[in-house]
Symmetry: C2
Subunit: 223 residues, 2 copies
């Protein structure tokens, strides 16, 4: 018997729209018409409507009370606050992790950071998440880890192309190295401080860039 190629329509539609929002194919504010999507995927509107509800729950789509759905926008303020939340939780996870880290955890982190040093630009975001994930695994806090994963995936991923052009790669790599060293030396306080700086520094820089870009876009739009 051949494998099960046909997936439920809701699932494949949801996944595809999600991917298109995350990679920027469907940009901020874009209207998502049920009929258009339905004809695009050659399905009826029923699964499309459910898919939009699911994506609305993930805050990737906004459904107004008129029923119209659009891709949500990212404000610099909410971006900054998400970074703050990220920093808060990640620092706590790191603090819990360090005392429980083994040499193999350290080695794994170093290995990922080496991959980061020579990876293609598109590979950065998932690998970078992996790096952080490895550091927090010993803490054994699946829920917090999940919140972090969500923040990365639902939020950072959408800024991917943006981050690509504004990231200070050598600096990030240096900071990763420093972070690993401090973990190895069981310097909890130092490691936590380094991590918080690592996250918030790039956050402020990105938020500034976001602000000026959105300003520019609004100006060109009003021409």
């Amino acid at each position: 018997m051949s494998e099960n190629n046909k997936q439920k329509a809701v699932l494949s539609v949801t996944e595809d729209i999600r991917a298109k929002i995350l990679d920027g194919t469907y940009p901020e504010g874009m209207a998502l018409s049920q009929v258009d999507i339905a004809s695009t995927y050659q399905v009826s509107r029923t699964p499309v409507r459910e898919a939009l509800q699911i994506l609305a729950g993930e805050e990737l789509v906004e459904i107004r009370d008129t029923g119209r759905a659009t891709v949500t926008t990212i404000s610099p303020e909410s971006f900054l606050e998400k970074c703050e939340l990220r920093a808060l939780i990640e620092v706590k996870l790191l603090e819990l992790s360090i005392p429980l880290m083994g040499t193999e955890d350290i080695a794994k982190a170093r290995e990922i950071n080496e991959s980061l040093k020579k990876c293609a630009p598109e590979e950065w975001t998932p690998l970078n998440y992996l790096f952080h994930e490895v550091l927090y695994k010993p803490a054994n806090r699946p829920l917090m880890q999940n919140v972090i994963k969500d923040l990365h995936h639902r939020h950072y991923a959408r800024l991917k192309s943006f981050i690509l052009s504004h990231r200070n790669t050598p600096r990030s790599l240096r900071e990763h190295d420093e972070l690993i060293d401090r973990c190895e030396r069981q310097d909890i306080e130092g490691a936590c401080y380094a991590l918080e700086s690592h996250i918030m520094m790039s956050a402020y820089a990105l938020a500034e860039q976001l602000k000026s870009q959105q300003l520019k876009r609004r100006q060109t739009a009003s021409l």
Copy 2:
């Protein structure tokens, strides 16, 4: 023209099921059949399916890959971790709030705690949330505030009847009073410590109760 009495079916069905899950009318693990719900609310299955998707996004309902939907269960471990997360975020919010608090904020908090002292048991949970909300408002972190609200509503609310019978009310009230005093004295460190204890102490107690209750239930179920 008379007011708009008819709401969209998806919304009213979602709200009603959510309320029934939160107040225990629909208990943990209960199967939620689309046809049953549809006939209960006198609507077709279409809005019911969307409602279930929404509630699944809120983690109140689980939809297995067979399509069957059930009310999610609360494990003591995930409960404890949610409390940890709550404590982490609330402590940060309090830390940010205290320097920005005015006398009217303190007064408001005292007022709510006075209401708590003489309120009916069912009023405790929302009033208690309000008390905490007032304390964190000056921090001006809408996203974090929202995460906290979610944790309270989606999680604590479901334990309402349980909390009712196991809460140490006088102790909570005393701790609230102490918390307010420390805020008024701008004792950030002391207030944060008091808050963390306040949250985690009751968390551990409740988790223990939860564990033994679920154990008891499993034993009676296997008779």
